[in-house]
């Protein structure tokens, strides 16, 4: 406990966190603009008739044309974060707006969006505007040092993401069947040079699987040690650029590349700041002489913030293991799959058709999913039990309100996982309209006909 208290008191240079803040803000702002320009606000949040919600967050819905406003607020707050202008307000706004956006539609769940959400939450409590920020100009003071734990917290979060992603790869499909890379890589046949050669090689699929697993497990440690840091960063750049070439993973690789810079020494970050300043001075004449430089930044409310951050990390460390509380194969049932850094881990496809039955007469008809869902929603719904249940209720309500009586919603669902033949996924004799969503095991998911060993 004493060691912990001493640790909490330790100070370090404020530059790395400031550079991180700038990089984070700029990338998030760009990410929002990119999302907007692709037309995804419309196609993902406005076009669908119905949105898949997270359990307990059904009240988070797009708000029509005003949804654009949420994105505008989110993008602007990211810019403010980058500038370090009204930082605390900006990062709180960013966290709330970004998280609201992600909660509106479960179909677009991505681990890296979740990462952004929790990272921005953590950043609310960090003095990322202590130096190199517009706030310094306004308040006429800057701080040279900040508590060391504030930078370590970000390193720890990055470390958890990598390490848990690595743990998740320790499974028999990934390591001993090279699945799903064996499916994904050969389809990249039109890449120059390697498309028709390496991508088609069996040994290469295994090499990629194993090195991917080792990379994820080791990279946090290689980044921590000064001697291996440069090598590790080269690996980070290579790995993320390579995966960006192979897969449509958007901004994530760049977020990670810029994010891992925080592992470098303060000297490096001071050079980065100096470099940006010389560029800025060409365009702006900022008088920095009136700014007081204060040696150490004191965090207010530490009695509240420290326990909060500790709780936050405890949850982060435990949450990915919640799948152990559920019976059945995790990849199959996906109970406890999300929010656990299981990234690019499986190739799963399904076909799920819904049967609306009049339970008195036995008369039935099938639903054309295209009448209610966008193709992206239908694709995601087809193999994820919680989606199937939520959609079943939507259909049940819809047809009941249309005047159908004694509505029962049954489902015929087939799913293929990692190149195995498709098999029945949901018990077709269960009326899903009578099943309630909860954190309990969904007994109507049929057992997986195979076994995948490992984490």
């Amino acid at each position: 406990m004493n060691r912990f208290l001493t640790y909490i008191q330790q100070q370090t240079n404020a530059a790395p966190l400031a550079v991180f803040r700038v990089g984070f803000g700029v990338m998030m702002c760009y990410g929002i603009i990119r999302f907007w320009v692709h037309g995804w606000i419309e196609s993902i949040y406005l076009d669908p008739k119905f949105h898949f919600s997270y359990y307990g967050f059904e009240w988070v819905q797009p708000i029509g044309e005003y949804t654009y406003l949420i994105f505008a607020i989110c993008g602007l707050s990211a810019l403010f974060v980058a500038l370090g202008l009204k930082y605390r307000l900006a990062i709180v706004t960013f966290f709330l707006s970004f998280t609201y956006i992600e909660l509106m539609e479960k179909t677009t769940y991505l681990n890296h969006y979740y990462f952004i959400s929790i990272l921005s939450f953590l950043m609310i409590f960090l003095p990322a505007n202590a130096t190199f920020s517009v706030d310094n100009l306004i308040r006429k003071k800057r701080y040279q040092h900040i508590p060391r734990w504030t930078i370590d917290a970000i390193k720890l979060l990055l470390g958890i993401v990598y390490f848990y992603a690595g743990l998740a790869k320790i499974n028999s499909d990934w390591l001993f069947k090279a699945q799903p890379l064996k499916i994904w890589l050969p389809s990249k046949y039109d890449l120059p040079f390697i498309g028709n050669t390496l991508m088609q090689q069996d040994w290469f699929h295994y090499a990629m699987s194993w090195s991917g697993m080792l990379y994820d497990l080791c990279i946090p440690f290689l980044l921590l040690y000064r001697k291996t840091r440069l090598f590790a960063f080269a690996l980070v750049v290579f790995f993320h650029v390579f995966t960006r070439v192979l897969f449509p993973i958007g901004m994530f690789p760049f977020v990670m590349i810029v994010g891992t810079l925080i592992f470098f020494d303060a000297g490096f970050h001071e050079k980065v700041i100096a470099f940006i300043k010389t560029i800025l001075h060409r365009f702006l004449n900022i008088n920095t002489t009136v700014i007081d430089t204060i040696s150490t930044y004191k965090i207010a409310y530490t009695n509240f913030i420290i326990p909060l951050v500790v709780t936050f990390f405890t949850i982060q460390l435990l949450f990915p293991f919640r799948y152990l509380l559920y019976p059945g194969e995790l990849f199959w049932t996906e109970q406890g799959y999300r929010f656990s850094w299981r990234v690019m881990l499986m190739e799963k496809m399904g076909n799920t058709t819904f049967k609306i039955i009049d339970k008195k007469t036995g008369a039935f008809f099938y639903v054309n999913n295209g009448d209610f869902l966008t193709p992206l929603q239908e694709k995601q719904m087809s193999f994820q039990p919680d989606f199937i249940l939520e959609y079943a209720h939507y259909l049940g309500n819809h047809f009941t309100s249309q005047g159908h009586e004694n509505v029962g919603v049954y489902v015929e669902s087939y799913v293929a996982l990692n190149g195995r033949l498709s098999q029945p996924f949901i018990d077709k004799n269960v009326d899903l309209y009578q099943q309630k969503e909860s954190f309990k095991h969904k007994h109507w998911i049929l057992p997986f006909n195979d076994e995948i060993k490992g984490f």
């Binding site: 692709h38 001993f176 028709n196 069996d202 449509p248 990234v343 799913v415 490992g454």
Partner: protein, 368 residues
Amino acid sequence: MKKIFSVLVLTLFIVACSSSDDTPTTPNGGESFDRAGMLRNLADNLIIPAYQDLSTKLNALGTSKDNFVATPNQTNLDALRSDWLTAYKAWQHVEMFNIGKAEEILYHFQMNIYPVSTTDVENNIANGNYDLTHPNNNDAVGFPALDYMLYGIAATDVDIIEKYDTNADASKYKNYLSDLIDQMKLLTQEVVSDWTTVYRDIFVAGTSNTATSAANKFVNDFIFYYEKGLRANKIGIPAGNFSTTPLPEKVEAFYNQEVSKELAIEALNAVQNVFNGTQFGGSATGESFKTYLTFLDRVELATMINNQFNTARGKIQELNANFYTQVNTDNTKMTQAYDALQAGVILLKVDMLQAFNISVDYVDADGD
């Protein structure tokens, strides 16, 4: 570091020992599948010949139509009907090729949208002023409109002939009949000539794994046709699989009353030929989805798909020649045929698509 590595190695060792049955296989010698070869086979041996065949048969239909219009009598009506059926069957072999010029000019919407709207047809005839290419007329043109014009406009053959002969509006009926067939010929000719002049090479070159490449679009179109054009339109919808009650009047060639099964079988054969890369009108096979699956070491899946096609064909064979009659007498058999086709959808849409790992054309968003 050392500790972590030793824990790691130990873990891996344990996992390795406990899954000895997962023997990896090497499906190929390191070369990727010859997609250009597959597209070449599809274009040269299936698609273009099928379109040319349809074009020839529509020309024959045009000739017999000219004869009938000149001399409306039973002999000429019979010849016209026979050529209509021949062309309709030829159509079943191209309906899934909604790509290139066909897609661009909305060819498919002007050839076989059924059920036909008899109100629209009669209004067009009465007005004598119509744009057959207009989307509002999609259900008043093509084979289904001809079905009505040749079998449905009156109760008996004598009365039908009367419409084109002595009826006050005979010339209007003749004009509409003529315009329908001429338009079908024109559209088909446009598609055929595009394939034979420019599109063939574009198609064959479209091997990349992108949402808009010919290879990916073709796979998606093929599955879409099987699911919608064949499974739903021909069997599922009339059988009432998508409605509270059966809708027997929605069968293909409703007015003819005896060929809906023949057309469905023809369509299923066409699907299976594309899957196996069997050349049009022949038995030689080339690169295809089947050989692609074989290349990916998924022979068992290719066999399952062929078996499922055969099962579905068996179920359809058991049906009445007229699905309208079948739905009204014993709809269970219809839904059984539907179920057999649906099982094929799973194999194509889930298993085959996963094996090909096709970038689907409709999903545009980041992945994880």
